[in-house]
């Protein structure tokens, strides 16, 4: 994947910027927090001011500190769940697509069953039976979320693997006598990278939503600060009804921004996979600078010559639409 082929549309850059910002926040957030998020030393129900940027809760806790500290748990659970779910979907999806026949039937059935069962109710049932020690453990929660979130990725990866299975380079590896496992992991998996990246982004997006929802419902430990528990406490203390927007709006907006960043990054991957989308997603000004017609023309998939691509001498190849 040469750098020149990675789309540079503004959408993608904004997405990378937003996600990058929150990743940094995950690392430095707890240090940036001016106070202990659980400390109840301040006056309750303060409106935003210089010393409390987002005011205080009805227990007298600093909301800005909660937001900063909460970033870490939210992002870590989402990442754990996203990575585990993607690993599961690679194992199931690639094995099903490559092996075919009976194993495929079994594995496809497994992923279709998990797709058909609505995720959140299942999560709630599992979580409501968890002992308190499990609910406060971010990794346990992450693992449970990943159990409900791997199936979609597996399905997409299976379809992609099936289209790769009979390509020449895979045949070649098979003739050389490579083991099945090596072919799956060494030959097929690297060619799934764009699809894999897209499925990872969506799984992380799903995991954030699932974790925040569980916390909002009160099914994760309320002692662990994350954006969902903030919303839980805000709701429990009727913050929305008493117009305390500075309590419940910031965590919600942060969740939405992270998700938006991930979705925007995914546009880049989509455009990478499908050149028709790449040209379709350009603004008028970019079209002119890259020498494309002002209005997209029917029946043509324009080949884009990015300035950077030309100077580095690489040519954008037209890849077949999926």
């Amino acid at each position: 994947m040469s750098a020149a082929r990675i789309p540079r549309s503004p959408k993608v850059l904004v997405g990378v910027g937003i996600v990058g910002f929150f990743v940094i926040l995950t690392v430095v957030g707890p240090w940036l927090a001016p106070y202990d998020p659980s400390s109840t030393n301040f006056l309750p129900n303060l409106t935003p001011s210089g010393s409390h940027w987002l005011g205080t809760t009805s227990l007298g806790q600093d909301i800005f500190s909660q937001l900063m500290v909460g970033a870490r748990a939210t992002m870590v659970v989402a990442l754990v769940a996203g990575l585990v779910a993607t690993a599961l979907s690679i194992i199931v999806g690639v094995a099903a697509g490559y092996l075919g026949g009976f194993p495929d039937e079994g594995l496809s059935l497994l992923s279709n069953v998990f797709l058909a069962i609505p995720g959140l109710p299942l999560l709630i049932v599992i979580d409501s039976y968890l002992p308190a020690s499990g609910r406060s453990n971010s990794f346990v929660i992450g693992l449970i979320i990943s159990l409900t979130g791997w199936a979609w990725g597996a399905r997409v990866l299976r379809a992609q693997t099936m289209s790769l299975r009979n390509r020449d380079f895979v045949e070649a590896a098979r003739i050389i006598g490579e083991s099945r496992f090596r072919i799956m992991m060494g030959e097929i998996a690297p060619n799934l990278l764009p699809v894999l990246a897209s499925s990872l982004l969506f799984t992380i997006l799903y995991s954030i939503g699932a974790y925040v929802t569980l916390a909002y419902v009160g099914l994760t430990s309320t002692a662990v600060w994350n954006w969902g528990t903030m919303l839980y406490w805000a709701q429990a203390n009727n913050a929305p009804l008493s117009n305390e927007w500075y309590w419940f709006v910031p965590p919600g907006v942060c969740i939405a921004l992270v998700g938006m960043g991930l979705a925007l990054m995914n546009f880049g991957i989509d455009e990478f996979i499908n050149p028709r989308l790449r040209a379709g997603g350009l603004s008028g000004r970019l079209r002119r600078t890259s020498g494309l017609p002002r209005r997209p023309r029917l029946g043509f998939t324009p080949v884009m010559h990015h300035p950077q691509a030309q100077t580095s001498g690489s040519v954008l190849t037209k890849m077949g639409a999926q």
């Binding site: 959408k11 059935l109 279709n112 069953v113 797709l115 058909a116 069962i117 609505p118 995720g119 959140l120 109710p121 299942l122 709630i124 049932v125 599992i126 409501s128 039976y129 968890l130 002992p131 979609w152 939503g209 925040v212 929802t213 909002y216 419902v217 009160g218 919303l231 709701q235 929305p240 009804l241 117009n243 927007w245 419940f248 709006v249 919600g252 969740i255 939405a256 921004l257 992270v258 998700g259 938006m260 991930l262 979705a263 925007l264 546009f267 499908n274 028709r276 989308l277 040209a279 379709g280 997603g281 350009l282 603004s283 008028g284 079209r287 209005r295 029917l298 029946g299 998939t301 639409a321």
Partner: protein, 325 residues
């Protein structure tokens, strides 16, 4: 027909898995939560109800296999146990809550699909125009949790601007019945929850449709249609009819996701459906109710999935000749 039969058997297996998971969870979790719960029941429900709850968990005697069959037997009889907090049979409670949820989420999903597909068609056709700026905005709505968007809308348009009546499913001053005032009240109170669910779920349909449209427009048959001199409206319809198929194929899979998000909207708007019920049950550790709701939601989603598959079967003639997808 083969495709439909395959899907039908998939849903049968899924239903069985859900039923089995529902049985296994309380029995496999550490700390024996069922025993603990039943121990705490005295005084809250009648001895007969305690017995019904025990039965719905498969009875407490015998080994796991015997209990499993006992549980299946009770399920067939319609005994889902007794709600601890509401002290009435779970099946009775569900019967009054399910129609609200099915109505709210069903209408929202259909609206969202139709609206998203239409907007996606237009966005795909006019790709590269100013309309494309809708896309980043729509991803924001896609990423925002349903319950958060619901809270904000409730606060701004319900409680501050008073554009929509909120909290509940109909005005407390109206008596339910087949009268126009009641129906009008239902619609008015349903508006904001429906808007919330549509706003949160429309982006997925819209973007999927846009991308398929862009891919479809580059096909020869669309060029042919333009070359024949068909009016633009007909050309768009021509391309859209083919581009919509993947969306319809995904419909059955997306229903589960929409339901997951929409359940919480009921909580925000205090809508009397199963989502609201589920969260109350979670707060009170009302396990029979939680499990009953999980089962009923799963079964309803499976039926909805099957309906979506039938729609796909009707729309795509290829499913009738080829082997199943």
């Amino acid at each position: 027909m083969r495709m439909l039969l395959r899907r039908l058997s998939l849903y049968a297996v899924t239903a069985w898995v859900a039923i089995t998971v529902n049985f296994m969870l309380p029995h496999l979790m550490p700390g024996n939560p069922v025993q603990t719960m039943i121990g705490k029941l005295t005084g809250r429900v009648t001895p007969q109800q305690v017995h019904a709850i025990e039965l719905s968990f498969g009875g407490l005697k015998g080994n796991l296999v015997e209990q499993y069959f006992g549980y299946l037997h009770q399920l067939l009889l319609g005994n889902l146990g007794v709600s601890i907090t509401l002290a009435s049979p779970v099946s009775t409670i569900l019967r009054s809550a399910v129609p609200w949820t099915v109505g709210l989420i069903g209408i929202s999903t259909i609206l969202s699909f139709v609206l998203g597909t239409f907007c996606g068609t237009m966005l795909g056709w006019m790709r590269g125009s100013r309309l494309d700026s809708v896309i980043p905005i729509s991803t924001f709505f896609q990423a925002v949790p349903y319950f958060f968007l619901g809270t904000v809308l409730l606060l701004v348009f319900g409680l501050n601007l008073h554009w929509f009546p909120v909290l509940g499913a109909y005005s407390p001053s109206v008596t339910p019945g087949l009268s126009w005032t009641y129906i009008f009240s239902l619609i008015r109170y349903g508006e904001l929850p429906v808007i919330t669910i549509v706003l949160s779920s429309v982006a997925g349909w819209m973007l999927g449709m846009r991308n398929m449209m862009i891919t479809m427009i580059a096909e020869d048959f669309v060029l042919m249609a333009v070359a024949k001199g068909l009016p633009r409206r007909k050309v768009i319809m021509h391309a859209a009819r083919n581009a919509v198929l993947p969306s319809v194929a995904n419909l059955s899979l997306a229903i589960g996701l929409v339901v997951s998000g929409a359940l919480l909207v009921e909580l925000v708007f205090n809508y009397p459906g199963v989502g609201n019920l589920l969260l109350q049950a979670v707060l009170n550790e009302d396990y029979p109710l939680i499990q009953g709701i999980f089962l009923i939601i799963t079964m309803t989603v499976l039926v909805a999935n099957l309906l979506a598959d039938v729609l796909y079967f009707i729309l795509d003639p290829r499913t009738r000749t080829q082997a199943a997808v």
